[in-house]
Assembly symmetry: D2
């Protein structure tokens, strides 16, 4: 439990804080330590009193150090949300509202946890816990309450900043069943997408330049959504070292080469072609007649598309069978144990894996990859990404977005990185 | 029931077809007429025997005309799927399979409907109905069966083309409850997206050039996903004549201007900012202190973003209140009846409406618009688009895609059209 | 184009209506005919002028007959929505509003289509089309407008009933791309569920009693959601004649028998069991050691559950392999072409198919079934049902609901029917 | 850092374990402490060396105590997954496979993390990390590898149990952007539902018996799905103390009372009623004519349903306006700031909140409730539950299920508890 003093030169700002309650049982201590470190600070344990049984309270005193007073303040604010309080506490700063319906700048923003305010050296409980409000202390300085922005009146005493406030987070109830605790946050479709795509592009670019091995797992939506050219660009430019897919991706890719449709929808004008639903069958049949995809390329029948590029660039691919398959193409490995064996072999040395719009193949591949492989899973359906994580592929980054524009943006970003 | 003969010059190819069964009750006749016309052909009724009661069969004879034999063939194939048979019927063409495991080119693709093949002048029933197979007739020419591609053996007699085949579509059961008929196809996320975006861009461009009025209804995901610049471009370039939104879009737009975050997520590097969840509250509070959005622009506090552009370009906007609102911004119309009235006024003259990532405001707007207004609804969640249609806004085009890349592509397409 | 007069005795009420415009191209005529028949009426064509080219208008006169004046009125109202107008037209009924903010009972409800009102023998256009409003005619009787309920003032002249009103539905634009027409309504989770389940129960019961053949296709969620007992009840009571599933359903079913967990979650108290994620692997391994599921039953190792009941009741089952499979169980058919062949055999004679919570196996089975087989697809995810229909299994009834309560209710309803 | 020795009488089994690496930065230490406590054990720190900077490794030695050797083993297995290793380490147990294609019982199940096996006193790295496999050591005892169940050959040396194995979990990369870390697990629709409903029923029952206050927030799907009677039962039996809803729930509830339809769908037979889409408008209009819902009850016009029961039982309700509303009903609070104020008042003293099928009202209510209130959110759409948690209502229990069967099961369970 040591902390070399030489370090302190880099962390001149410090504060002693205390944390008490069921801080282990409620994951509060871990969160606090994690916040300190992730905000660039460091901590030193001063005193640790751990409750023996689950219901016993614990009490920990830490010294928090940071590179500047500002950084320290940021840490204290963050860990204050989890109930960590400076030992040296001051009264809350109060300022009268200068107008109706709005707080002074710098007002304290409430959470929905039990909260107290320190006024004249004593702690006043806050009357009602409601998130996203301000805190008002009455003139007698004996009562405090949450008040929404639109209800504050000029002259009311508003708490400014976090000094002199403390919260008592609700502890998780772990008795009996966990029906009341299985909730967690999740993948969201509401993130700045440009940033995410740029990060993925950089990872792929770095992987290629460092001679890593990129595995792409792709579903037929790559073809249906009109993204075939983007995908072909990735192959041509060295961003695909192995391809896992099924009969459908290859069949619709070839359908587009032969008929300019995918599942019968014209890729040029988006309309359904008459009899178009038969195009993929006729495409599979033609490849079966020719003996396989490489033969179709060599004989000059297949002249464009994803599978064509794979053959031309000698990218190994594995088309794994499923009971939904029409045909299937002669290249499909129809025995699933055999397919798994080949996938396992091709996974050797993979360092980056991009999964696009396929639940079946993504989960199957996730099952085979070591945890150290970075996996990005792109799907318009949040459930696919969630399922992948639920089955233990924890290293997955989920991106809930649409295939075509994702690949379009990825190609644009990669093209920019090449220069 | 006339058909002027002068037309026939343009439609030299013709064939008489017959349709029988519960063709009205099953929507079969309508579908056939619709197919003929939509494939560029025309029809003339020869004889119409309509069953009186629901259970009575009907029988209709039509002459189908088309511009060429090829076009006629296409029509006959399409309407043959619904059971329309040429009066002048020929035997099916049979060809021996030239190899195992694949059909000859041009093979007949089966549906899952009851099917018959005409051999030696008589109709043979097909043993089992399965879609996406071929049809094989046995040597005795007395039996026919569906066979999957992989099971055909060299020498077996395969039906080629559709000549001499007929199907009997299952009729809808309409007795009693309709639990067995409420199913329909739906919006799909698997369409060529580039084509769809291009169509929308052309519609918007045409609307602007013809001095139509474009209404945009937008949710806060426009800001969260990092699409604010795309949206601002639309305003600057005249593609937005009215904006409907709520407190959240404006608040997060202003949050980005003030703090470079949206719901606390940095728009530059995608990370959560410490205390960032308070940024939108502080932004709303600041605007309340200034008196409103126009005042914030005029006083130089608000210098960028969607609301800034609206003020600068004098685009009328309506921010409608909801019970989820924090604050709200002073510009929000908090009484919903009053908000509806203002929306109604601003809807006057709208000719094109683009709804982006908001269920509440989209449905509210859909309720106000005349059917003649073209409405495009973009959402990553198919349910939003579906709900819009279910409530009677039938003219809606649903696009299931991601906001940021959609707007990015739309701006690129519009920028291309401008030149 | 005849209509036997003897029928007219049953349909004493009649009215001549006219329909004009692009009624074929816009599917309007079909819809009108369909509505008449489905509302229990009948029609007789009087005059049919069909436009030759897509852009030419058509004009059809029909006699509509119904069993009573009330039924006739209902039909006229319904087809009036599509623009079918009685030849014998009367003025709209006007009544002054008797209070502010509400219409008189029986007020005309507007659509969002172009609408006209007949006043003093002439047609007045309605100023603005908005759905779900009332219609008010001004004192001069020269102007009419849509007005929302809350805005009507006492004394204003409100249109009552549909008499003397007509709408002009927007026609579908079919030129060029169909981006603006691919929208349709869809499966909905918002239907009275009790009724739907009751219908399904009746179908299954009837199928069993008529010695039909019921195929169940089921995913592992049947086990995860705690529905195994419901399913076993179905087997025991003769409602399952064939079972299609994958390795996962069988593995988790056996896991529950061996460990009382499913994917490691306790089926008794809902908590995750420590090491529970290994239970399915250990279960598969144990069955592999025993040689297969029937051997495990015969040797007394497997004593409960779905697979146990299948073996005991000699219900044929097909476990089809997929590349996601762990193990797999020795009973799994790992070659997918072989699995399809066996599924095809077992589909022989199936008359009712219930698909529960599996996209892969449902679509694979849908591909094999004739159209005449009634298919019910139950999934909590609307996308699964939609995909099934998109691939051509049009006869499917989609039920968007949760597996466990669905099966619970189904078993309750079936148990009730048995008595 | 003390641990009273008297406790040890209850925890006779103990083991010293060591944990090293970036155990703070990677949340590994927290997880380990949490696992120990949650599995019923206790821990005592022996030595804690915390790295100062993020990149420095830490090293912690703990004594783990448990109530039995079996319980201790369970804990050691659990924390071993996170890299916690007993200080006193033994070689792995090896056993030759007794057959092809299956492991001996008790085989070690692999994770996808970097793994080592202890053989002859030294650690051998495992060649490839793949989850859900077994571990085989070659005859030279110098190499170990993951092997899938189906590939093991008789005689190969298989690792049994976890003794003598260790894993090195991948550490989270926290440099730069967090695109590679925003993924978490989520609400799932695949849980044993009966258990969850039973837990909720018990909570509601306890709340009622302890004179707590139950708030129900409900959307119109309660009516559409045919659940009105279940809901009325809850009111009648004292399980509803406050109701929050919108215009739609009340309007469709009243529509069902007046017309036996909801959004025009018959609640008796599930079919669309002709003109049924107008029923809710006519219902709203009629209530407007009567002055409000209480007046409609008192005058005998409204005789059944949710709103009727609320009036009869004097349950306070708040109908909050939204811009989607038709009418609205006179009882709706149309100003959203006013509605929030009233909701805030009615939230006073609430101890349990059940939210059913409404995103808007659920999030609005979640914003107002203190964190200590237990919140259960039921929706068929996982996104609603997720959104609630994303906005800070962390105490929410999400249940992804269908409204009608959920309420049916809840009522059944509550009826059972009453006895």
């Amino acid at each position: 439990m040591s902390s070399s003093t030489e370090q302190n030169a880099n962390f001149p700002a410090s504060e002693q804080v205390e944390l008490s309650g069921h801080i282990i049982d409620s994951l509060i201590l871990p969160k606090v330590l994690d916040e300190i470190v992730s905000l660039g600070g460091e901590f030193e344990f001063q005193d640790v009193q751990i409750g023996h049984r689950r219901r016993d309270a614990s009490r920990v005193t830490l010294t928090v150090r940071a590179a500047s007073n500002e950084a320290l303040e940021e840490i204290l604010v963050a860990i204050g949300q989890h109930g960590a309080m400076p030992l040296d506490i001051q009264d809350a700063r109060l300022e009268p509202a200068d107008m109706d319906g709005a707080f002074p700048e710098g007002f304290y923003c409430t959470t929905n946890e039990v909260t107290e305010v320190r006024v004249d050296g004593g702690w006043i409980p806050v009357d009602r816990a409601e998130m996203d409000c301000g805190l008002v202390v009455d003139d007698s300085k004996k009562f405090a309450r949450c008040i929404p922005m639109c209800d504050v009146a000029q002259g009311e005493l508003v708490v400014i900043g976090r000094q002199g406030t403390r919260v008592h987070p609700v502890e998780r109830d772990r008795s009996g069943h966990d029906a009341f605790s299985f909730m967690n946050s999740t993948v969201s479709s509401e993130k700045p997408k440009g940033v995410t795509v740029r990060d993925i592009a950089q990872s792929m670019h770095r992987t290629r330049d460092e001679s890593g091995k990129i595995l792409i797992v792709a579903g037929p939506a790559v073809v249906h959504t009109g993204s075939r050219n983007h995908f072909s660009w990735l192959i041509e430019n060295g961003y695909v070292n192995v391809l896992f897919a099924g009969n459908a991706l290859a069949a619709h890719d070839i359908e587009q080469s032969f008929f300019d449709t995918s599942l019968g929808i014209s890729m040029t004008h988006g309309k359904a072609a008459e009899e178009g639903h038969e195009h993929h069958l006729r495409s599979i049949n033609r490849i079966r007649r020719l003996g396989g995809i490489p033969q179709a390329v060599e004989s000059g029948h297949l002249k464009s598309g994803i599978m064509y590029e794979c053959v031309r660039k000698e990218i190994p691919y594995l088309l794994a069978g499923s009971i939904r398959d029409d045909g299937p193409l002669p290249d499909v490995v129809t025995d699933i144990v055999e397919a798994q064996r080949k996938m396992r072999e091709l996974c050797e040395g993979v360092t980056f894996c991009l999964m696009i719009a396929t639940t079946l193949h993504s989960i199957a591949t996730g099952n085979l990859l070591p945890a150290r492989v970075k996996v990005v899973c792109v799907d318009i359906n949040p459930a696919t990404v969630t399922k992948l994580a639920d089955r233990g592929t924890y290293q997955t980054i989920g991106v809930v977005t649409d295939v075509e524009p994702f690949l379009r943006a990825l190609v644009q970003d990669l093209a920019g990185l090449k220069k």
